[in-house]
Symmetry: D2
Subunit: 383 residues, 4 copies
């Protein structure tokens, strides 16, 4: 069996989660290639070495460019903040490496478009890309997509999506890189809203075509963590709200916020169609609610499907029914799908083109917000 | 349309609820007879007069026997504590009055058997009885029965029933009549457990045939409300637990308690069968959970049926879907069924015979508890 | 005790519900006046007579104007479609009758403003008005308001409100008056959205000041019920979505639809504040979810308050804890509050001024929808 | 840092789960020793080799006894069916190896007592034992224990525990080793009930002292998987029900079954005390319900604690709040605790003595069931 050498760039929260997934994926799934955790890249040599030891990577380096010339590295896994995605991803693609890039794809449409251009060139040489919209790999949501594709909810009418967190509720919580436009691009919009948009695209298998959006920064200044007594400006949105129209005529409401007190990772989505409905909340990630309008009214109702049956997506490899999965397993599934696509020369999803489409929706939201929430078409670009 | 003159005996909590139901039933349902709230009976003349005015009864009296000779009284509705049920009910039946009697039917099997004997005699003259096991009239539970009768859960294997309240959690809460054996007969067993047994009989359409039970009094003495500083003995059970076998082979676990902190009126029942399951909690009384094991495993799950559709039991007379009902409506349904049975010379359920069967189960629990929880057959009596 | 003579205009769904509430309110609550169901008005003499008999009104008439000159009528209760509200209400107020008017107050701001003008004149003579936004009288929601007023959720950041029904999911369901602009004014917006706006005003005790809205009609034509084989145009919105800003800075998302398959009467609202959150769903109307951000993180969580305690709003008059209430009781509470305000010369809420404020928000939504969802200020009028 | 050489015996379901946990534990937690997956033992050489490769064990063998003489093996992890636990565990302990043994500890009290005797001898040499009651390591349940220990629910009154699965609902499902008394010891009682008993002991920190139990085999014969057309007897219980008394006076109801249609891994426990209550369902394993009776009645209610905060047991090592854990993580926590105890010469729990106490409760249930459910004291043995 061929090995697939992996280089990880970044070793904070996402790097740790990806490492755990790389360690696990080949032990649980029958993969067509054997992933090798070849090298971990960080900005500081010491920290990278320590992280490599802890997370089980063979080597470490503080120079991510050095891994691009190595023959034993076939895939670059980018877990850094958004402002460095474009440079790393384009270099890696140009060097003939497959690229898995954390979301959102980039901090701007321009960057994302350049990345997709590089991906498009690379694709001709069999080089593949994937964006880390891991929630697609929640079994309950993969099941939701297959139910929709099978016509079980009919024509979609409403998409109601919100991603609710609460870590900024306290106005005295300090600033970090996620609150700086130059690092993060945007706030709740890109961090949380991007997941919602990709998920909606995935579930409905159709795109958002226009939006009306509003952005809000509730707390304009926050303490600087390294400068006691001083505060700095928050330059991103605290909350993003937008209404959307899908190509097929469905209406969507989207809300992303870090101010929903008591909601910890409340990614929720409900879709109402002419023949049924689906509802999901990540805080109960093993459950999918499904209403089948074709049932007799007397016995119809939202059923709570515990998505842990062997016939559910990804589940055959795991545990008996009811032995629930967690957040980290979405990444195992993501890697399984990407590795399989690479081995089989398939078309992984979401690829950079899909990531760019999400970016264009976010951009339209920002443009709408800047124009009194007027409806804005999502630009279609050349791709 | 014939009128049906009603005499109410007792005007505390249950009397108030029945009054509201008598006022409502003919306004909402198309009844074959017109109930008249003729007379309210209480122990004290003043209180009875006041209650009659408040609850809308034409007359009042402190002599319940006086109503038995009145031609304009056709039905006696008994809402007194259990120790007076037998005398009132037997007298009323012998006087040719239909009787609706609050649960439990009596404080002992002997009394209940005498009442059923009187009912049996009266039945020959077209006089009917009903016991106030109102939870049968929760639409969601009536629906549950019809699903079971239609074979939707197959052969019942498990019945898991509990009735959880918490008003005795505080050991300093004072004694009242419900804690005195001479008034109430038993404690949680007769007050709450009786509902569970009747409900199980109703849902499965088969009886409990043997039990193994345990009774517990957690707090042996409590303050006497009228004698400051003094305490009196609690002479009933605080909690009753029993295991039961049904005629058809199903196993039941029953638990009734007034010490379940935070559970207010938590009447819960779950039934697992070879082809499906049903679950219910009165605190969400408009919902029935139904699992259909015949569904493909990938889309199976407990569905939450909101039992407010026009096709659901009793619902046609009420509001549009989703406009939920409450506790009091179970009594309106009870009266609707009893009045209808009287007009149509039908067979109301649960009648005194059904009440007696419940009493025999409670008695078997008490006998088992007195014999180290040995299994006890439920006596079948002559009836 | 003084009597309060009531005339009911309209006897369809709302008329039936109000009748039940008028029958009940004085039996359950200690009222300072005794309401008398004096006369029921309908368009057709026969139907009115029948309805009066069924619902327990002393007299009936097909001429609502005739009741305005009766001395024994003190209050007119308007349960007709929106297009007749203004004429009836203004006439009644000018005749010195208190007016309870179903929601929405009117079909246009102009009508609503004229009604409020009449109400304002009448107020000087001690004549009072109320709009039938009954959901304010759900105990769980009245509790929510008192928690917010007590500062338990701090500064409100987000209001997330949706009112989901599904009776139009089937594209072949026929047209009725609710789908005709000339009768109903608007569709989901006025029927369902009006409740959400009033509820948000009530809970936060502050108004919506600007909105960005979108309206959608998914199915443009539907069968005409009386003309087999022919279809007619739907002239109202099937769904209404809007984003709102509150005076205090909170952001709101509102959604009203009749296309949410499986949601029957899903009026939901969640409010996130700097110190806590509240959440509610009418389909579980006895429950309020409350998160107190002041709790230690280890034991914090949304608590499910079963709003059936004696200390909860309206509950003292009802049943023991856990003996849940239903939809109809919200109307009993509404009448209790209005009758009390009349007797005590108080200030009932929501009065016509409050109803007008809601109407202005709906109007701003319509104007915004007509201008590509641009933000529109809610007009403040002269009042 | 010292290494801890591990030998795994058995590589079916439990062996796979333990392997994943051994791979993960040192990557996520800061351990005082470094576990090495030294050798995997199976009955068949080929299968063991394959499993070792897949699960990442350095070597494999078909002779578990051979590992007991190896110096590089310090811990034996037993994942075989119950009938081989005693021999392997006693040999390993006598050879000076720490032992982690899957539950139930043994198939009989005699075996369990012999194992505890060996453990007791070994303890004097610093050799430690642990039984694989992994549900103790669900963060929500570890939190529950700490709340109880802190007095947050006061004196326990009721324990209501059930473990509901449904894989035997189909009467034509074939026999496997779990349905054979000679391999499994008992059925639902030992497989599921054992977890409930250990969990109750853990949460309350006190033991069951007497029981009244009933066992049931609903389907007496099932198809033999290897002999088409023939059936064999089921020699274990399909369901086990028992009532229990705890040393401190609390009453428990326990139910374990494989016939609860639609319940997949429904391990549920609710504890009601004089000052509050706790409730848990493994199918929503990241949530703990907690009712604090000390709250004002108006705002009291069961709160849903999402047990994913950094301050919750085990959580500091994992992901941000709301990024939920799954079944497998309970094993990671188990290993973390056992490795830590070994390194620090602590007292791991539950050790073999705790496992023996559980076994004695199960034995008392069997004896009671054999004596018409008479109450049986749990034997205290010499230990």
């Amino acid at each position: 069996m061929n090995t697939l050498g992996v280089a990880l760039v970044g070793h904070a929260f996402m790097g740790a989660v990806h490492s755990q997934a790389w360690r696990t994926v080949g032990r649980v799934f029958d993969l067509p290639m054997r992933p090798e955790r070849a090298v971990l890249c960080g900005r500081r040599k010491d920290a990278a070495r320590e992280a490599a030891a802890r997370f089980g990577w063979t080597e470490s380096t503080d120079d991510w460019k050095s891994v691009l010339v190595r023959d034993d590295v076939h895939l670059v896994d980018i877990c850094t903040p958004g402002d460095s995605h474009a440079e790393i991803a384009i270099s890696a693609l140009d060097a003939g490496k497959h690229v898995l890039c954390e979301k959102p794809l980039a901090n701007s449409v321009a960057e994302a478009a350049a990345m997709e251009e590089a991906a498009s060139r690379a694709r001709r040489n069999g080089i593949l890309t994937m964006v880390g919209f891991n929630y697609r790999r929640v079994p309950a949501l993969a099941l939701a997509r297959s139910l929709i594709a099978a016509g079980r909810i009919g024509t979609a009418r409403h998409v109601r999506a919100s991603y609710l967190q609460d870590w900024l509720v306290d106005p005295h919580a300090p600033i970090n890189w996620r609150l700086r436009a130059e690092r993060a691009g945007s706030g709740a919009l890109g961090d949380l809203g991007a997941h919602l948009v990709d998920l909606a695209h995935y579930l409905l298998d159709e795109d958002v075509v226009s939006v009306s959006g509003a952005l809000e920064t509730f707390v304009a200044e926050r303490p600087l963590p390294d400068e006691p007594g001083r505060a700095g400006p928050v330059t991103v949105d605290d909350a993003a709200l937008f209404t959307a129209r899908f190509r097929g005529g469905a209406l969507g409401t989207f809300e992303a916020t870090r101010y929903a007190s008591g909601r910890k990772n409340g990614l929720r989505i409900e879709i109402n169609g002419s023949a049924g409905s689906l509802a999901f909340d990540f805080e109960s990630m093993n459950e999918l609610s499904f209403h089948d309008a074709g049932e007799p009214a007397e016995t119809a109702g939202f059923r709570r499907i515990l998505a842990t049956e062997p016939g559910h997506p990804y589940l055959e490899a795991w545990y008996p029914p009811g032995h629930v999965l967690g957040y980290e397993h979405t990444f195992v599934h993501e890697l399984r799908d990407f590795v399989t696509a690479i081995a089989e020369r398939g078309a992984p999803a979401p690829d950079f083109a899909a990531g760019l489409r999400v970016q264009r929706v976010l951009d339209a939201v920002q443009r709408s917000a800047a124009h009194h929430s007027r409806w804005m078409p999502v630009s279609e670009g050349e791709s």
